[in-house]
Symmetry: C2
Subunit: 775 residues, 2 copies
């Protein structure tokens, strides 16, 4: 029997002492000798030809070292073509089949394609001087017609962003399954709705930040970057700069949140690395909050049309969906249309679908990964549709859901949309959510309150999502000579608490002293190829790699224990954190004793020294966490304001290594998902100018705007990884947006309002109520 | 057939571009924000009680942050006892059998034991302020009787450095083998000589240097140190500071030479790490050259008595030796007496020995590893003895050596001294040395020149040495997704060119692009437990670990190649840098293609991703390089000066991976060994004050004082490691000192001078000639 002392316990985070005391190190904390500072001249136009750039005034300013345009950078870099603007091979040559993928220039040379795109870069002795000088650079623009709305962009005759991408359609995905025509022909009821899902910004506490410095020992470059996936940046930069992988080292020190928007190398990463190599000096750039809102990947931004066919009981017969994803100006979210499409069925056993999804280029900032990336979008649509269906049939939304759930016995289950779900027990989570929220009591109370002229709404949503993405993750586990353990993971946590979770696994499975376990991450030099932290994959896939490495170490440790205890390896058991001889509990050795032997030479004949393992875990498939959330809200018709009265979440991520960490993820996810439902939106005006360039305009929630959540869980393990775990990083974000939207729509039902698009701002609600009253 | 394109070729050093352009990074190049500077108050007395320390004036100086005495440091550190002065457990409790090993205090508390010992440490905002303040610290000393001469220290009644170490004898080693009494009884001739081998200083180009900074992410400490063995320091510091191994990171960036004196954690390493943790700021210390001469481990310093018994032919019958090693004040060279004793027989088949060796504490700087550490000492004695024997018998020294060589057929051969030599062909190296030096011509010419009043001497020496020390070495080889290769080695080269040699192995054996191979070292975070660069072990043991890792990668690569080429793994061969199907040379894949498959998921069923291996090589035993050197010198009696006219070395280190690197090691070794023969000496006066505290006093050679060497080699592989290689780092140092000494003595033969102790300075030679003339 292996005792699990740490796994499953509410172990406090190893990360917190350094964070609470403010003694950790973010990129902006780095100060290197001779370091220069960088600021960007960014496009003021969503679409414009660059006729000329006059940097003479900027260059003359005291403290300015140099100003580089795209052409300058190209001329001074010996990098590979894709980094050199204007020299990129024609994309069709690269991808003969399918839709071409336009190359991303680090600095715009001929044309600017969105507001905020880098046009020139200023290097100066301080960040303030660099910023002032950037404002002194004069760019001669010739404005071109800009397209902001993806549905307009798709129309024939619309201006094209790229000459070889007709109708600006950068991605197409389609799935027709089952007899969709029959489904709609036989339907007792058809529900149709158009949804516009707003654009969001990531807004991690720490904006993007980069320090790049020449590496004197490899003659390459070290880049400290606030990134979620250091190896991806390493690979991209090495290729672009023509360096060996060993010459490019990416370090993500403490990272203050990512939410998906810190995935992948940005223009700024390439530019800073190139400048460090060119100038032979360290260079630093820390994104301002306005730059973040303007030039860091956005999320969501879809417009979709859904149709649901159902029988008189409410059993779904078929789903039609047309999904239009605004890609922005660059291809950073090409997988979003298909992901949304693949998850379109949600938790439901839908026999027939006809889903068409498009990704469309527009003159806006690129849309990429943002917490959930495709799954929140899909969950929002189907969960709103379920409520619309229930309302149309006059049924309880919980019961319509229950009727349509994929039953537990059908797993693994492939949806009509084409996604294969591993395991699930949706009714169990629903039941628990209904119970802890006293759902039925609330339904009754709601009626009473309505009598009193109070507009209380009860909303719920069931979600399922994909996580545990491969292709694989790496881990190095080193038992050191003292028995201390150092773990290196290829994932790159940035606030999640993974150091604690992995240390719990090591402590229990190797009998290591928890305080002597150090988990390191975010450094391409310490661990082979990893795929970072994103898509709720870190524990599921990264933890899997750690477990595999632990198992290898344990195998060797058992051999050494047998040698030390003068017993056969088969007679050694690991009990209570020690290796002991079966039936002779006093004959036992600790990890420290085994480590001492491993490094000190007291080893079985022919065994190599050391107690170290490097391993990769490639999950056989994705895993699908799920849950049901319930919210009770009140809407105040006089102001259109929404108050959340109660919030209940039941999430199932399989076994929980550390409930404290899981709850932290759930709390954060709820805040973020609720914010999408009620407040947050990136807006461009019709000319493509960003309206939400500061936090005065982009409505992030404050703590006081939220309530105390009641969280609970069910536990349905997956057979697809050694922990049985499923990931919890995105789950609550996904469940909460439709829950709140449904609750608000439920509150507004007395006004006859069926649907409003999120965010459900007071203005929008008040106007809808006014319209309803007038109607 | 594996083509060896790089191995064996004169490949230019990967290291040189960064070194030649001055763009590399030594510890002193590091500047960290908020970094403070450290200077040491060091003992002015070789032995004194510390009655009090008044730092008030120093603390009051502008820019001084604080001054710490040993007691302060102890009070403020929560470290383990061995680091806390005055709290060390009684050494006898630790080592119940054998002689106690005295603990080393980081800062002297009660007593100072040698001139230069740290007494207090000043922290200030600049190095200059710190040094000035260190001079303002007033120490109240009570001088105690000091012992400088180890033979005096051994006498009964001599003052003791440590109360529990009688006669100051810190180490004893003895070997009696064969019938030594009979050997001397039967001897036709007995040669006796007392040798005093001077004390040396390491004098690498870069002195010791340390920067220690708190690590914000582990809450431990990162120490950049000019060290030869980062992991050793990591282990020592972690234990002393009570930190997990993962919390202590040692980085040896570019290191400017070591020669053995940069092995091991010094007091300064502990102190700086502790200060960084205590002050929460980076601290820096760069040893001055005077500090280096005073307080960095010294080398050599022995006084020995040798007796050689031989028959009339010159065949050696027995050897008696009494070796007294001056250990200095601390136990850093406890292995030196035994190493000298074990190598006492040199290349010779000596049937009987009686060797007694002692290590003796004195009030001088500790003696530790210095290029060769025990082997140069032993080689010098036996090679001088061979010349004395030849002279006594009137025979050619070359022929007396040949007569006594261990013949090739006797290997592996265990000497009477107890050392097991792996392989050797000493006569082959001798023959080549005699041939290329035109030895016999020179012998004739010498006679003619003597007729002309010129004192030309011809000297030779044959040496054998030990290298390839275990216990093991580690390596990580990572084929990156592009096919670039990153190698991490547990050895820690500091000028040897190992990056180049290891890259050559990787290029040939994996078909990797040489320019895409990056070899990294000197970082405890990147590679598991290593044992550093010392004892000519890096290629032999470190290269062995790299080869083992390569072999593992190759095995996996072959499986992947078979999968890609749709062939059986048995049908895949590695030819011309590619994996191809036997009999179908067009069906081939490169390393880059295999890497792409390994990381891209195109793998055989069930194979884990990645192309990475970590391995350890534990050599089964040491290896024994050898060689013969010949020198022709001229002595000018009017001044006592020596001019080296010609120098020939024939060294056998087995197969040479890169002859350019081997020659570099030989050239440097010759310079250093010749310098010991002629110039260098660390001297203390009879009161224990250092006389050679600057490079004006310590006579390092200048390039113009040396000549152009003629180097050659023979090649006798060892079966004990996969390369067959033996190590060349120390060889030439070992061979050259006795060669020059023998040549000078040969030149002085007409004066009847039989022996003078090294260094053979003009003064010493001139005085000897004067004495000889007066006699």
């Amino acid at each position: 029997m292996v005792i699990s002392h740490y796994v499953g316990a509410r172990v406090r985070r190893k990360e917190d002492p350094r964070l609470i005391t403010g003694s950790s190190q973010y990129v902006d904390d780095l100060k290197l000798p001779g370091m220069l500072h960088v600021a960007f001249v960014r496009s003021s136009y969503p679409h414009a030809r660059i006729r000329g750039i006059d940097a003479s005034a900027a260059k003359a300013m005291p403290g300015v070292v140099d100003v580089f345009t795209g052409r300058d950078l190209a001329a001074r870099l010996k990098g590979k073509p894709e980094l050199i603007p204007g020299e990129a091979p024609h994309p069709e040559e690269q991808k003969p089949e399918g839709i071409p993928v336009p190359p991303e220039e680090p600095i715009a040379v001929e044309r600017a394609l969105y507001v905020g795109q880098p046009i020139a870069v200023v290097v100066a002795t301080s960040a303030a001087v660099a910023r002032d000088a950037a404002e002194a650079v004069v760019v001669d623009y010739e404005p071109l017609p800009a397209i902001i709305d993806p549905e307009v962009a798709m129309q024939d005759g619309a201006p094209q962003l790229y000459p070889n991408i007709p109708n600006n359609i950068g991605e197409r995905w389609e799935r027709v399954h089952g007899d969709i025509e029959a489904a709609f022909a036989q339907a007792h009821v058809v529900v149709r709705q158009r949804f516009r899902q707003q654009r969001l910004a990531g807004i991690p506490m720490e904006t993007r930040a980069i320090v790049a410095a020449p590496d004197p020992l490899t003659q390459g470059v070290t880049v400290w970057s606030s990134t979620q996936a250091p190896h991806w940046n390493r690979n991209a930069l090495a290729a672009a700069l023509g360096l060996a992988h060993g010459q490019v080292r990416i370090i993500a020190p403490e990272v203050g949140g990512g939410f998906g928007v810190k995935i992948g190398a940005y223009q700024e990463d390439f530019i800073l690395a190139a400048l460090a190599l060119h100038l032979h000096r360290p260079v630093k750039w820390v994104e301002t909050r306005s730059e973040h809102l303007m030039a860091t990947n956005h999320g969501r931004d879809q417009v979709v049309d859904y149709e649901l066919a159902a029988d008189a009981e409410g059993r779904i017969l078929g789903l039609r969906a047309r999904i239009v994803q605004n890609l922005g100006a660059y291809p950073r979210g090409l997988y979003l249309p298909s992901t949304t499409g693949l998850m379109a069925c949600g938790c439901y056993d839908i026999p027939a679908v006809d889903i068409k999804a498009y990704g469309v280029y527009t003159n806006t900032m690129a849309v990429g990964a943002y917490r959930g990336a495709g799954r929140p979008e899909a969950a929002y649509y189907i969960e709103r549709m379920m409520d619309l269906l229930a309302r149309k049939l006059g049924k309880d939304p919980a019961e319509v859901r229950r009727l349509n759930y994929i039953p537990p016995e059908k797993f693994p289950y492939t949806t009509a949309a084409g996604e294969k779900y591993d395991t699930g027990d949706y009714a169990k989570a629903l039941d628990k959510a209904l119970e802890i929220s006293r759902y039925h009591e609330w339904r009754q109370k709601q009626q009473e309150l309505r009598q009193q002229g109070r507009f209380v709404g009860v909303g719920l949503a069931s979600y399922v999502e994909i996580c545990g993405f491969g292709p694989y993750e790496s881990a190095v586990v080193r038992v050191e000579p003292s028995g201390a353990v150092t773990v290196y993971t290829g994932t790159s946590p940035h606030g999640q608490g993974l150091e604690t979770a992995l240390a719990q696994l090591v402590a229990d499975r190797l009998g290591a002293d928890f305080d002597q376990i150090v988990v390191l991450h975010g450094d391409t030099q310490s661990v082979p190829e990893g795929h970072g932290t994103m898509g709720s994959r870190s524990l599921v896939v990264g933890g899997g790699a750690v477990l595999m490495a632990i198992d290898r170490i344990k195998e060797k440790a058992t051999q050494i224990a047998a040698h030390l205890l003068e017993a056969a390896a088969e007679d050694i058991e690991f009990v209570d954190g020690k290796w002991r001889v079966k039936g002779a509990p006093d004959r036992a050795v600790t990890l420290a004793e085994i480590a001492q032997a491993a490094y000190g030479g007291n080893l079985p004949e022919g065994m190599e020294p050391g107690l170290v393992a490097t391993d990769f875990f490639a999950p056989p498939d994705e895993v699908f966490p799920f849950g049901t959330h319930v919210a009770v809200v009140e809407v105040f018709p006089e102001t259109g304001e929404v108050e959340i009265l109660e919030y209940y979440s039941v999430d199932d991520c399989g076994p929980r290594i550390n409930p404290l960490l899981v709850e932290g993820q759930v709390h954060g996810g709820l805040a973020q998902g609720i914010a999408q439902a009620l407040w947050e939106e990136v807006r461009y005006d019709e000319n493509g100018q960003l309206l939400t360039g500061t936090l005065m305009d982009y409505a992030m929630p404050k703590a006081a705007m939220l309530l105390s959540f009641t969280t609970d869980h069910t536990e349905t393990p997956t057979p697809l990884n050694p922990l049985g775990a499923k990931g919890i990083g995105e789950a609550a974000t996904i469940g909460s947006t439709p829950t709140i939207a449904n609750a608000v729509m439920d509150a507004l039902a007395p006004f006859g309002i069926e649907h409003l698009d999120i965010p459900l701002t007071p203005q929008k609600i008040w106007q809808a109520i006014q319209r309803a009253k007038q109607a």
